[in-house]
C-alpha cells in the first residue's frame, strides 16, 4: 500500500482511539454515524455533526447523543429526527449552534428549545414549524441568526419575534414561485455549408481567425472518414473520426476550413465555416 493513503488517516484514527479511551459516549455517537470533535476554546465541549455521515439518525439515536451533555454545536440536517426526539436535547444548554433544517420537526415538541438559552444560531428551514414554535423562541436572548425559509411562519408571527429579539437576524428567504426563468434566446441561425470536393493534389485554404460558431458534421459518405481542422499556418490537426451515418458537433470559428479525408488520409473535400451555425453534410462518395 502506498504511504499516501496512510498520510490521510492518522489524525482521524488517532482521534477515534483517544475518544474511545476518554469516553464511551463519544464512541457510541460515532457508531451511529456522528462526527465528534472537540470544540474550540471550551474545555471538554463537543461539536457533533450527522448531516454527512449519519443521516439515518433517529430520535432514539438522539438520546445517545444527548448523553454527551456538553455539546456546543449540533447538526441534525437531513436526519430522521422528528419533533418527538427534541425532548432529548432539552438539557443541552451549552448549545450555541443547532441545525434542525430539512428534518421532520414540527410544532409539537419545539417547546423543548425554549430552555436552550445559549443558542446563537438556529436553523429550522424546510421544516413544518409555524408561528407556534416562534413563541417558544422569544426567550432566547442570545439568538443572532434564525433561519425560517420554507416553513409555515407568518409575517405577524415573525414580526412579534423581531420585537422580542431585536438583535436577531431572521432570514425567511425568497418565494420560489416568484422566480422567473430567463427566456431562452432564439436559436442562432444556421446554414448548409457547401461541400467542396478535392482532387488529389488540391489543398483546402488556411483558416483565418473569426468569431465563435459551431459546425455539425453528418457523415453520409458511406465510409469512415477523418476530420481535420486546417490550422492558421496551413497545417492539419486531426479532430476525430466519424463512422458512416455518424454526427459530430464541433466548436469552431467563422472562416475556418475543415478537411474530410478517408481512413487512409486521402483528402475528399472540405467545408468553410461562416458566422451562422454550419450544417456540414459529407455526401455519398
Amino acid at each position: 500500500m502506498s504511504c499516501r493513503a496512510l498520510l490521510l488517516v492518522p489524525l482521524f484514527m488517532a482521534s477515534a482511539v483517544v475518544f474511545a479511551a476518554d469516553s464511551e459516549q463519544v464512541e457510541a455517537v460515532r457508531k451511529i454515524g456522528g462526527q465528534v470533535r472537540p470544540a474550540a476554546g471550551a474545555d471538554g465541549a463537543w461539536k457533533v455533526e450527522f448531516q454527512l455521515t449519519g443521516r439515518s439518525l433517529t430520535d432514539a439515536g438522539l438520546a445517545q447523543v444527548a448523553a454527551l451533555e456538553k455539546i456546543v454545536r449540533l447538526n441534525l440536517r437531513d436526519t430522521k429526527v422528528t419533533s418527538a426526539g427534541l425532548v432529548h436535547i432539552k438539557g443541552l444548554t451549552s448549545l450555541n449552534r443547532l441545525h434542525l433544517e430539512r428534518t421532520a420537526v414540527d410544532d409539537s415538541g419545539t417547546e423543548n428549545l425554549a430552555g436552550l438559552v445559549n443558542l446563537e444560531y438556529l436553523n429550522l428551514y424546510n421544516t413544518k414549524i409555524t408561528d407556534k414554535t416562534l413563541v417558544h423562541l422569544a426567550g432566547l436572548k442570545k439568538l443572532e441568526q434564525l433561519y425560517l425559509w420554507q416553513t409555515g411562519v407568518t409575517d405577524e408571527g415573525v414580526s412579534r419575534l423581531e420585537k422580542a429579539l431585536p438583535g436577531c437576524r431572521i432570514v425567511r428567504g425568497i418565494d420560489l414561485s416568484k422566480i422567473v426563468a430567463i427566456p431562452k434566446p432564439p436559436p442562432r441561425p444556421s446554414e448548409d455549408l457547401k461541400w467542396i470536393a478535392l482532387t488529389d493534389d488540391a489543398k483546402p485554404p488556411r483558416s483565418v481567425t473569426g468569431s465563435g460558431t459551431e459546425i455539425t458534421f453528418t457523415n453520409n459518405s458511406g465510409i469512415k472518414v477523418k476530420i481535420y481542422w486546417v490550422e492558421y499556418g496551413g497545417g492539419l490537426r486531426l479532430y476525430g473520426e466519424l463512422a458512416p451515418g455518424g454526427k459530430r458537433v464541433q466548436n469552431t470559428f467563422s472562416q475556418a476550413s475543415w478537411l474530410v479525408t478517408d481512413e487512409k488520409e486521402k483528402p475528399l473535400g472540405y467545408f468553410r465555416t461562416g458566422l451562422k451555425l454550419g450544417k456540414a453534410v459529407i455526401p455519398k462518395i
Binding site: R4, P10, S15, P38, N123, W149, R172, I179, A181, K184
Partner: protein, 455 residues
C-alpha cells in the same frame, strides 16, 4: 499570536509524527490547533478568467471624463455611498454582504502572470504549466489545511481549466504541494455553454457516467489489480511512475466519490428544485455556482468556479478579456450572467443558513485600461483593480482602499494579491505565515502579505 498550529497538524499527518507522540498528546495538540475558531469553514472561489474590468463592475467612475468613464452608468446599492456598475443590479441588492477591495495592484500585464499572481499570491518566477515547483493555487492551499474525509475531495474546481490560445496555465493546481492537492476538476453536467471554445481535458471527472454501484466496485478491484502490477514493474521506467502516481490519485478519488459519498448526490443537479436552478439561470456559470453550493453542503471544503469560457483564444468566446467590443459584450453576455448567477449563490447560501460559514472569494487576472482603445475595448491593466469577499464572517457593505479618480492607480490603502490572500487565510483560520515544506523538504512561508483590516 505565534502560530505553528498548522505545521503541527501537518506533522501529525505524517507517520513519523504519529510514532513519536503518545495519543493524549495528539489530542491536546489537536485541540490547541483549533483554539481560535475561524468563522469560515468552507470557501467558494469565483474566478473571472481574462481580467474583469473594474470600471464596469465594482469600481465605476461616474465622474471621470467620458473616454475613461465608458458607456455605462453607476447605480446606488443597498449600502449608502457604495456604487456598482448599472449592469449588476441584482448584486447591488447584496452589497450588504460584499466587502470590495478597490486598491489591488500588481506588475503582471499578461494573462499567465496576472492569473498566477492573483490565484497563488506569488510572483511568477520560472513557471510553466504542470511544473511541480509552481506555487499552489489559493484553492489548493486552503485545501491543504482541511481534514480529508473518505469520498470527499478536499478541493474541486469546475467546469474546465484555464487556457490561453490552447496553452494550459500554470498556477491552477497543487504546485509544490504535490498531486494529492491538485483540486479535482469536474465537469458541470448542465447549463448553456459560454459561446466559443470550452475546452475539457481528460483528467476531469464525469460523475454521471457509470455510476452503477456494482460496476464501480468491480473497477475498484481492477484498480487494486493494476496497482499490484505496476508495483512489480520498474518505477524508474521513463516517467511512468510519476504518471501512474497521478492516475492513481484521480482514480481513487473518483471511485470513492462514486461509491460512498454525499458528493455523488450533490453532483446530480436533477435532484435540485427546478425553480432554484432557474434562479441561478440555465447557463453553465449559474449551474456551476449552484453545484458549488451543493458540493460545499456535501462537505467539500473548497470549490473553485471558473466563470468564463475555458480558453481566451484570441478574444473570442465569452470571457472577460474584452479587447474588442467591450461594452456590448459586457452588457449583453458577461455581466447579466455573472450578476444573476452570483446573486443567486449569495441568496441561496444565505437562506439555507450557510453564508456565515462559507467564504466567497472573487478573483480575476487584473483590471482593464482607463482609455477605450480603437476597437471599442479595454486592454490589460494590473495598475489597479478590484477583488471581493463575501460571507464567512467578513462584514459586508464595506469598501477597502480606493483607486484614483481615473481608476489608473491605487488612490488609498494600496494592497497586493498577497495581502488579499492573507485576508482569506485569516478568515479560514489559516496562519498566513505558516511554513510548509515542498516535496524536496524545502521550507516555504505560505504567504508574503498581511491580512487587510476588514474584519
Amino acid at each position: 499570536m505565534p502560530n505553528s498550529n498548522y505545521s503541527r497538524r501537518g506533522f501529525l499527518r505524517s507517520t513519523v509524527g504519529l510514532a513519536g507522540l503518545t495519543l493524549p498528546t495528539i489530542l491536546k495538540l489537536q485541540s490547541q490547533a483549533i483554539a481560535s475558531a475561524p468563522k469560515a469553514k468552507s470557501c467558494i472561489v469565483i474566478y473571472t478568467w481574462g481580467g474583469m474590468s473594474h470600471y464596469e463592475s465594482f469600481d465605476p467612475k461616474p465622474d471621470a471624463p467620458s473616454d475613461i468613464r465608458g458607456e455605462f452608468k453607476a447605480i446606488p446599492t443597498a449600502t449608502p455611498g457604495i456604487q456598482y456598475c448599472e449592469h449588476l443590479p441584482l448584486l447591488a441588492k447584496h452589497s450588504d454582504k460584499l466587502a470590495i477591495v478597490r486598491s489591488l495592484h500588481h506588475n503582471q500585464g499578461a494573462h499567465q502572470g496576472g492569473m498566477y499572481i492573483s490565484l497563488t499570491g506569488h510572483q511568477p518566477v520560472g513557471i510553466k504549466a504542470g511544473k511541480r515547483t509552481n506555487w499552489p493555487s489559493l484553492t489548493a492551499m486552503i485545501s491543504r489545511f482541511q481534514e480529508a474525509r473518505s469520498g470527499t475531495p478536499r478541493a474541486i474546481r469546475m467546469p474546465y481549466s484555464m487556457y490561453d490560445n490552447g496553452g494550459l496555465m500554470a498556477g491552477d493546481d497543487g504546485g509544490w504541494l504535490g498531486y494529492d492537492y491538485d483540486p479535482v476538476l469536474i465537469r458541470t453536467p448542465a447549463g448553456t455553454p459560454y459561446r466559443g471554445v470550452t475546452r475539457y481535458n481528460d483528467l476531469e471527472l464525469k460523475l454521471k457516467l457509470n455510476t452503477e454501484r456494482e460496476r464501480v466496485a468491480s473497477r475498484r478491484a481492477l484498480l487494486r489489480d493494476l496497482e499490484q502490477k505496476v508495483s512489480i514493474g520498474s518505477p524508474q521506467a521513463s516517467g511512468i511512475h510519476e504518471n501512474y502516481d497521478q492516475l492513481d490519485h484521480f482514480h481513487k478519488m473518483a471511485v470513492d466519490m462514486l461509491l460512498d459519498s454525499p458528493v455523488r448526490e450533490a453532483y446530480d443537479l436533477e435532484q435540485e428544485d427546478p425553480r432554484i436552478r432557474d434562479m441561478y439561470s440555465d447557463h453553465v456559470c449559474g449551474q456551476t455556482l449552484l453545484l458549488s453550493r451543493r458540493l460545499v453542503e456535501a462537505g467539500v471544503p473548497v470549490v473553485q468556479a471558473l466563470c468564463s469560457a475555458g480558453d481566451l483564444a484570441g478574444g473570442s468566446g465569452d470571457n472577460w478579456d474584452t479587447h474588442r467590443d467591450h461594452f456590448p459584450k459586457m452588457k449583453d453576455r458577461l455581466l447579466p450572467v455573472f450578476d444573476r448567477a452570483v446573486s443567486a449563490l449569495l441568496t441561496d447560501l444565505e437562506m439555507r443558513g450557510m453564508l456565515d460559514e462559507t467564504l466567497v472569494v472573487f478573483l480575476t487576472d487584473f483590471g482593464r485600461t482607463p482609455k477605450i482603445n480603437g476597437n471599442g475595448g479595454r486592454d490589460h491593466h494590473p495598475g489597479v483593480y478590484s477583488m471581493v469577499l463575501a460571507g464567512g464572517g467578513i462584514p459586508g457593505g464595506q469598501v477597502y482602499g480606493s483607486s484614483d479618480s481615473s481608476g489608473i492607480s491605487p488612490g488609498s490603502n494600496a494592497c497586493t494579491p498577497a495581502d488579499f490572500h492573507a485576508t482569506v487565510y485569516k478568515a479560514m483560520g489559516i496562519d498566513h505565515h505558516a511554513e510548509l515544506h515542498d516535496q524536496l523538504d524545502r521550507p516555504f512561508q505560505i504567504c508574503d502579505g498581511e491580512p487587510l483590516p476588514i474584519f
